[in-house]
Amino acid sequence: MRQAARLLAGALLAPSAALAAAQKAAVPPPYAGVYQPQGVDEIGWWREDDESERVLAASSLVIRDEALTGYIRGVLCATVGADRCHSVRVYVLREPTFNATMSPNGTMRVFSGLLLRVRNEAELGAVLGHEFGHFERRHSLNLFRTRRTGTDVLAWTGLLVSMAPSYRAARAYRDLQWSIYGHLFRYGRDQEREADSLGVGYLNQSSLPPQAAAAMWQNLMDEAAASARARGLRKPNFKAIAFTASHPPLAERADTLAGLARIDGEGRDNGSARYHAALAPWLPLLLDDQIKLNDFGASDYLIQNLARDGWSADLWLARGELYRARGNPRDVEHAAAFYANAIALNDALAPAHRGLGLALLKSGKPGDGHAALRRYLQLSPDAPDAKLIGMLVPGGNAP
């Protein structure tokens, strides 16, 4: 959501929609090839960045799956072109928020939460292309120059913290420090506009439909609205036709992006099938990470969004887990139905039987519940919680 906040900050100050739509997407300039840092500022900045990448490469948060990382890299290459993408190293981080960043030395961090939120290669390419646009135009260097006062602040903060006795101070300092998550920038509106324009420009030249940029943005707004609704927060009044009637500044951005897209690119293959196939091995883990963030509205929105092309056993299971975790009596009833749907699609899915059993026990149907738990133990006798589940089943006591 940091990314979203950043985009929002840029979008709030975006020019009027009519003006923006009249703009043309920047045609990506010829690529300059291997770039070496110039001048004392940039050399120092890269040195810091190299160090940050070294820490990142050793981090236990990096998802080390050659196939997945290679696939994401492939989508980046398809978006920005093969010559450009040589300068990039992609790291997938297990971090369930919507974000991707690119740092000056060519380190691209893709957060796993992003993978759960985009629906096809074109949308993924739109986000990666946007970040690549910041990189290609070296926006972060400009920010670095204007922010050197900021790093002085950091040094002072360290000194003050060393004098402070409380844990809270230590934690606040850690938030300021550079971490493996990289430098999180809040780019200016002109830089955001330039990156938007470049991002769509790459897509225009690629084989992917550039309309995906606007679609992705719309999807993100819808998720935010669903999250706010479920939490009882004052929601943005999104109307049915989102592009024209939604939250104005955001709609303007979506409009801008839509206006920049080449109209004849609309019929291109967005790579949805390839994307889902590549993500499939990781989907259960990513869904689990999302559900346990305790953001009911957003999680339910995401699951239903993923199910748009058809429900799978994994998706029904995730929805069951989500409802059971909230745990109101009505939720437990729904959860039991969702687990049953999952089992109907894949009877060998052990966690679905576990969930079904627990949900039935909680909704006062111990008979069926015990049967489901027995089936769970049968399917996965070595599960970490097998003994405990065994105690819930009469006569099924742990071995």
């Binding site: 971090e95 939460g113 745990g327």
Partner: protein, 197 residues
Amino acid sequence: MTRIWAALLALVAMLALPVAPASGHKLRAKGEAVTVADSGLTVTPGRDWNRVSGKPGKNAETWTLDGGQLNDLTFFGGIEPGKPLVKERHKKKDPLPKFGKATLLVELPELLEGTYRAYKKIGAFQTLSTAPTKFLGQDGVAFTYEYTDEDQITRKGEAVAAIVGGKLYMVSFDAPRLHYFDRAIGDVRALVATARL
């Protein structure tokens, strides 16, 4: 205002408050029975511990040996149905999972996991084992877990929990996987064995 300036101002404000040195950490001396977490839960430490000032929640209390980031022993004493384990940062914007009337023993590890993930905003959390046990003279659950915090240190944890009279009682111990967990876990288990209600 940039984030950095805002954070600096917050820090200055924090420092400007009169804070006594070692602000209220209390010694929990070896062999002396004490009640913890504003509840009827009593433990008798087998060695000296520090009670960390400031409670993570209404019915929670943390002890440490070397500092909260190196060993964190937290007692949850009588969490009522409908309440989260620790204090929520914001009830509406940042809600935490709640303990419920219908929560089963086997769901307690999920409750702790959900609380950690939502509170610390982390993705890398894994429950390693779950087993039935006796705690406070009742059927309880003992479980171990591992997670990587934003400070990039992988911590191991062990917890034991039981539901007594509809309320949740739990003791959890977290420490860096390297060195600190193994060094103190024996003392922690001995301490948990002295827990009485």
